[in-house]
Amino acid sequence: MTEGQHVQAILRLGDDAMVLGQRLSAWCGHGPILEEDIALSNIALDLIGQARNLYTLAGAREGKGRSEDDLAFFRTDREFLNHLLVEQPNGHFGDTVVRQMLYSAFALERFAFLSGQLVDAELAGIAAKAVKELQYHWEHAAQWVVRLGDGTAESHEKVQQSLHDLWSCTGELFDVDEVDAACQNAGMLPDLVAIRTAWDLRVNACLAQATLARPEDGWMKEGGKQGVHSEHLSYMLAEMQVLPRTYPNATW
């Protein structure tokens, strides 16, 4: 594992949290009920907090003086290394909770490993905190998927469609590229085959309870963690980054 790969691995983790946190924050004030508005905003806050810690760590490991803000606001879409799943639009509430369920199941397993690895102690500390938060996120999203999937005929049909629409973004979660392989060999990142097994167990149990059919693993989209994204990310970043890019030294 080179220093560059080390930094890239942390950036990928940070970008997943940042992009999904930004997506969820758009629900603030638009939740279907007050409790849900609060829940989605809370989850967004946890994720953005995780991103801040991971960006600060990535900046420190890189050693070029880039701050959390530099990494969040002054990189282009091609420099973001998040998975395609987290940048998908919020859609309706069902789309959002299915996306959240699929991501949380993955992130929970991944951060559980990260909290126990010994290669980067600071990363382990950040992960130990994140994994407790992700446990809540997972339970919350899985409960909603069950409620909607095993709800009315209309809610069932809608989340089944959400699942179908998002499924092609799940293959990439388990693709191993050079960065993953190097970091896995060094013991810093988990074996994605093991993560996939654990993810399958979680997701299958949730879908079974929700009476939803698991889509076939057909053609899968890829490229997110190498910086090749869907068009959705660029629009999201344009909105997220406009202020610091327009007024680079703006402070509150």
């Binding site: 409790e35 806050l45 801040r52």
Partner: protein, 163 residues
């Protein structure tokens, strides 16, 4: 003044800082102050945030900074993320203060996974102490709290999540 005296004086200052979200508790009672040391002649206060995205962290850091500078102009505050903060670090004195302010404190130890989600465990009502209560939402007004309801006295209240 010896280093021990300086550290003791620094603690007195830090103990005056309260949590902006739970103003009846000090940051020391919250278990956020991990240590005060002398490093190269300078006082260093180490704090650990409660939740990754807790917006109060920046304010707390600034207030600890202000308090400590009253006696140690060269002191600095460092944020440590490892080991991660846990509700196990909250001092016993905080529990009664939480209850007196209508918040049900954490129940049990964080290491027990069953305690994580608030399901399958009883969170007594801080108003009437009834154990006939139910969780309304795992998320509350701040990252650290969940919403509960007492089924006897009907009091809605918050529970400090055990993490």
């Amino acid at each position: 003044m010896t280093n021990d005296q300086r550290i003791s004086r620094a603690w007195d200052q830090v103990r005056t800082v309260h949590d902006p979200e739970l103003p009846y508790l000090t940051v020391e009672e919250m278990g956020m102050v991990r240590g005060i040391d002398v490093v190269d002649g300078q006082i260093v206060v180490t704090i650990t945030p409660t939740y990754s995205g807790c917006p109060a962290t920046d304010v707390i850091r600034e207030e600890v900074n202000l308090a400590i500078h009253a006696c140690e102009p060269q002191a600095r505050v460092e944020v440590s993320l490892s080991p991660a903060w846990t509700t196990d670090w909250i001092l016993p004195s905080a529990y009664d203060k939480m209850r007196a302010n209508g918040i049900a404190p954490p129940e049990g130890r964080s290491a027990d996974r069953a305690f994580l989600t608030g399901q399958g465990k009883t969170i007594p009502c801080p108003r009437c102490t009834s154990t006939n209560t139910t969780m309304v939402s795992a998320f509350g007004s701040t990252a650290c709290k969940a919403q509960f309801k007492c089924l006897d006295c009907l009091e809605p209240y918050e529970h400090f999540k055990c993490i």
